[in-house]
Symmetry: D2
Subunit: 433 residues, 4 copies
């Protein structure tokens, strides 16, 4: 009996998936020219009700259907080989184009479709490992999104307490670096000594694509807990001379690979600099997510002091309370931190993902901060260290080129000295300097 | 001397064109990742100053540069031939893609770039006959625009006397059917018994892409001059039961082939119907631009009455005042008009371009109007006849399909009868019914 | 010593108060003509820092200063008596006008001043009992506000989840009828089957003056708890035929006596009726705040059944849990409720303040609902009863006039019958029918 | 017959006027509490259709009706005389208040009423000379407007080519200093090297109350024709260091006596200074409307040179072409101009109305410009002279006080010297310095 009911469920799922694909196919038919909007609305509605097994079936069908016509490709290749000119190239381009592109373009006519397509890509990517055959869907959507989400179409908006609640609740939902606990917490992050900026696409007015949280402070802040304290007094903006980017969040997993972070920071540096001429320092306050992992790696761990090794071991215990890091370890930890930032590389690129992001943007590693993130997570991840990456507009391009071309890491003299004055011999890296 | 100075001018033009292309190339380089916005702004600025010979040079260079890498294409073809799967197809797709697409995407990052690219395509298309080798630019831009100007991204806006002057002056500039003479004339077309709607793209907030002018009238209007009279009294909207589309203008030559007209009319029918439930009739009041040309064509002209032939001849005199059409010709002219609309075809499609547009939208030819456009141009073009194409929502899809599939023209019974009751034998068409 | 330090504090408070008054006086001087804005900003800033004793001093000074010039009044009276004409009347009008009016008008030039003046009146009114001499301030501000907050200047805005958080948090803060517990609760009250409308003044864009919460339901809802359940499923608006006003809150104590409620409800009835033609029933779901008090009053209490008297007594215990009301009491309670609504009057006006509001608006008492508010407060206040007052547009004016002129209460036939079928003899009222 | 028909017309007019007044009276009745909005709409509609004789009748009735109750005033006076305290004063204030105030407040509830009331005052003022008994209406409306149009409620808006046409056409209609000929002319005045600012009231979103036109120039412009040339090339704003107020227009005759000009200029100085830090000079370019009149006055004319006297005489001929002013007259004219500005007074205040406005604002007379307005009107009015009044923020208050208190005129050293170096003896003024 169970088998049969399972079978029935499967049959229903298969039918629902098939029906949706048929509606997608209709969108590519002739009727769609005059009734495209209605067909798109219906198709999207049907798709959006798919769940579980039916959704899986559907994704498989979507991956299998809408492939370019192989015979047409064959013919176009022959013609191009025979005479490679503008016309044969044009035909070849058209022949290889995935019909899914046109399908997605037509679906996009329906209200809310852009968001639904971003969500579709997220679902596909979530299952890509088990279903590598779905990579064509991923690729086609990425291709479209690169066009649709062109930086020229994005709108930078400042988000503050006058923004719609429908937008603000997204910040709470998406914030990925330093969790926003509730509306009270959120409100503090939008007060006068703070700024929040996001990129939006006109078709998704309530959906930030990426946002950055900025604190306006006197001096380059090196500790994150005061910035996260929802009850901290509001600072006097007229005294501020630094804008600290303390959190950057990509909101849409479905837009993976279409990068906005670099543009966002540069634009915010420009806007804040114009609005608040007193702000001279632009810097991040960033985690070092890979530091402890690197310390525990074979080649490094052998060089650690017994005290540090012991402390690291204590951190391993999953549920145990995290003890404060002994201040005696400070010189060693700072030295290791500096070496990690400057030398720890994987194929000429920094091991640390956050470092890679800011350095590729043209920022320079400016300062290491002891006990900068004193939370449990901060200690477990990086012994409490955080980095200020500084954005000096005049240097960004040069830093970026040196980084991309030669793998050279821009760093303050101070950081370089800390890394250099190591008592012990340098830790192993894949890159000897 | 003239030769040398010409030579110098040429050299300068060549240099300017070359310099611009170099800036475009830089946009595809590594530096562009971090300085893309600045490079795009500079490149676009330099390009926008090109004129005359320099511009021509530039277009030639643009057509010649940025072609896909032939060797990469060759390799991709070989790999695909060897094993046609997802991976080899993906590589083939990338190999054939014109690098110009990425170039244009990166240029688009600059402010106002979208408008500049539309203008670039207009320039290319204006010279396509003499420079067929520029068709690649045209094709690449069209490809991008189809993606960027997806209906899902367009915004329908009503335009009225509260719209920005920066938008309103565009109506005056673009109106292609019934010229708007001045602001006084424009104002009349935006008063309470009128409506104007346009599609906009968020990146071009002041640029209508297409707009339609609508008159709200009591009964289906059959004469256009009263609608165009800037001093006509404003009608009582509460009495109106018909929305007459009396002018539809595509504004951007650079968006040729990306069609918005069908969507616009359908959306306006929907919006007006919701706002003004008293409006029951939706119809165009349209010219018949090809009627007189068709009358003068060989096969038709032989069948005309002497009186009509004489009047047509009188119209030929280019500068002469146009005499009113004798009312005695009315039955003959209406009959010919009906036959023109229903039977005059070219390869199964109506000869008349306006008819093709409305019929393909699913409208039906409803009524022929005698002395509907009594202007000189109206008489010279169509002996003063105009057509109401009626939009009946429930029939649009069926009419459209029958038209596209079988070339069947939806027409009112009255029109069919006028066409049928011809005293003389039917005029020649390529399609006998 | 304490005395002296107290004396010093007093001296400081006196000084601060005096200084503020001096700044207010400067605003009425000649300099204010060109520097009025700056003077107003400074004066308001100084005032807003007054607290405690200094504020009290200041209010006393404000009440004492700025009185009209008695000699000028005397002269104007003499002139008017001698010859009562347009000119002498005009002078008398000017002579009696409180200079505080001009003072407040000039203060209002500063940003945020309107809000500060509303707040000033609230403070004055809070202390009016102990300081009756401050009534002049109250009267002058009320006079101004009646002019400034003219209904013609108010803007009705719908509030939803797209409204600025700065506005939404005010709803949480102000809601006076059914407390909004948190943002989650608020969100539920703004979903698709709900509406919220408020009046705003352009000078106070974030400050609702009054707001009403509306539930769109199928049938006239008689129970409030389902409406207040933050996790209740969202209803289908297309099925709704009733708009239930379940909460109306006046936000600004400083605008006491300037009434907006009647206008608000009438405008919302109009707007909802236009937006949602399916809504046919407009009614409140209202508390009966004075019911239990009335039951316990001498003349009534003697007529109650022993069971009811016992239950009422049990409610008196302040901290005890409130027991459910025995269902056997239902007929008696409903009868008493109906009699309370229809007959319990004080000087020809209903005893119940909520009844007074809706009846004066022209609504009619439609239905009494048993166990409508099952909360502790609902039981203690009105034995769980609530009333639907129904707004029938065509009857509003007639009902209002009959109510105001003759004290006649519009009520449904059903309610009248419940009141009439009393087993016992009618309870005492000041009005025999 | 004519008499009778005239009588009939009169009767109709009387009836219409009477009917309108009755509707106004109804607005003050009890019914108005619940139906106030509808009654106001109806009353305003009926009023707005009054014309000619009916309107005159109506204004007479409006002036006669709505007077305060004389008996109530008498009683209030008696009570106040008997015991002048807060309560009797309050009653006296209420007793003398014109019921028209409440009437107008209630009318204002109708849409568009504020504009209609402004227009009503304009009509009343236009006929005040013939109908002095209407001054009560004027006074009551002025009283209300002073409250409603408080500076704190006005919104400064920049007007540019993106403003609604409905606003822009008002500029064309209202501009009172240098006529705007058409939309082409208007457009030039809104281009990048120009600014236009206006005060708006929220209840009149399309109606500027006052506007100022500003040219951004390099150096303090002394000639107006280049600024008025619709085809002049657009200047480079980045080079500009001066903001020249070349036209200020009060738009609403019905707001006579409620002054906005001073606030507007000060706010614009502030806003432009903040937006464009390169602008250091703020000055008007102003006419001297009374100069020639003053030259022709008895005491002055006797002192003029024969050449100047002759030129002045030539200007008198009304239709004759205006000849250019001989350059030989320049020294004399400049000297006279300076003396006119600094010494020509009427009861200690400058004879020149424009001078009075700017000097009272705290500006100083900075420079006299020869051939500054070379138009016919410019020559006839002031021999082509114009003045720059300069606004130096730090000096405004001091200048204003000295001007108001002592009649002292702030002027540049240069102007003072020109006035002082007169060859002839000083012209007569009412004020010897």
């Amino acid at each position: 009996m169970a088998g049969r009911s399972g079978g029935t469920a499967t049959t229903t799922a298969t039918k629902d998936a098939k029906k949706t694909i048929d509606m997608f196919l209709a969108l590519l038919s002739e009727r769609a020219e005059v009734s495209g909007r209605r067909l798109a609305v219906d198709a999207l509605g049907t798709y959006s009700r798919l769940q579980g097994e039916a959704l899986e079936h559907f994704l498989d069908l979507l991956a299998g259907t809408f492939a370019p016509d192989e015979r047409r490709i064959g013919g176009a290749i022959d013609a191009y080989r025979a005479q490679p000119d503008d016309a044969t190239l044009a035909e070849l381009q058209m022949a290889v184009e995935s019909p899914r592109l046109e399908l997605f373009r037509r679906l996009n006519v329906a209200p809310m479709a852009t968001g639904a397509l971003i969500d579709l890509r997220r679902k596909v990517r979530d299952t890509l490992k088990e279903h590598p055959d779905r990579s064509g869907i991923d690729r086609d959507l990425a291709h479209l999104f690169r066009s649709w989400f062109n930086r020229g179409f994005l709108v930078l908006r400042q988000i503050d307490w006058h923004s719609p609640a429908a937008v603000l609740e997204k910040l709470i939902a998406y914030e990925a670096v330093h969790q926003i606990r509730d509306w009270h917490d959120l409100r503090r992050r939008l007060q006068e000594d703070r700024r929040c900026y996001a990129f939006f696409h006109p078709a998704l007015p309530d959906e930030p694509l990426i946002f950055v949280e900025v604190a306006l402070t006197r001096g380059m802040t090196g500790r994150v807990q005061p910035l996260l304290d929802a009850d901290a007094p509001v600072g006097d903006v007229r005294q501020a001379n630094a804008a600290i980017f303390y959190s950057i969040t990509n909101c849409q997993a479905g837009l993976h690979g279409i990068s906005f972070g670099n543009s966002l920071i540069k634009q915010v540096v420009e806007d804040v600099g114009r609005d608040l001429p007193g702000i001279r320092i632009f810097a991040s306050l960033s985690p070092m997510p890979g530091f402890c992992r690197w310390l525990k790696s074979e080649s490094t761990s052998s060089q650690l002091s017994p005290g540090l090794r012991q402390y690291l071991q204590a951190l391993e215990a999953p549920d145990a309370a995290v003890a404060a890091i002994p201040s005696g370890l400070k010189p060693e930890v700072l030295n290791l931190g500096a070496r990690y930032l400057l030398f720890a590389k994987d194929q000429r690129r920094p091991v640390d993902s956050v470092a890679r992001f800011h350095l590729a943007n043209g920022a320079r590693a400016e300062r290491l901060n002891w006990m900068a993130d004193a939370s449990d997570q901060g200690l477990r991840q990086s012994l409490g260290l955080m980095v200020n990456y500084r954005y000096i507009v005049a240097d960004l391009e040069r830093n970026h080129e040196a980084f991309v071309r030669d793998g050279r890491i821009a760093a303050s003299r101070q950081l370089q000295m800390i890394a250099a004055t190591a008592a012990r011999r340098p830790v192993a890296t894949d890159d000897r300097i």
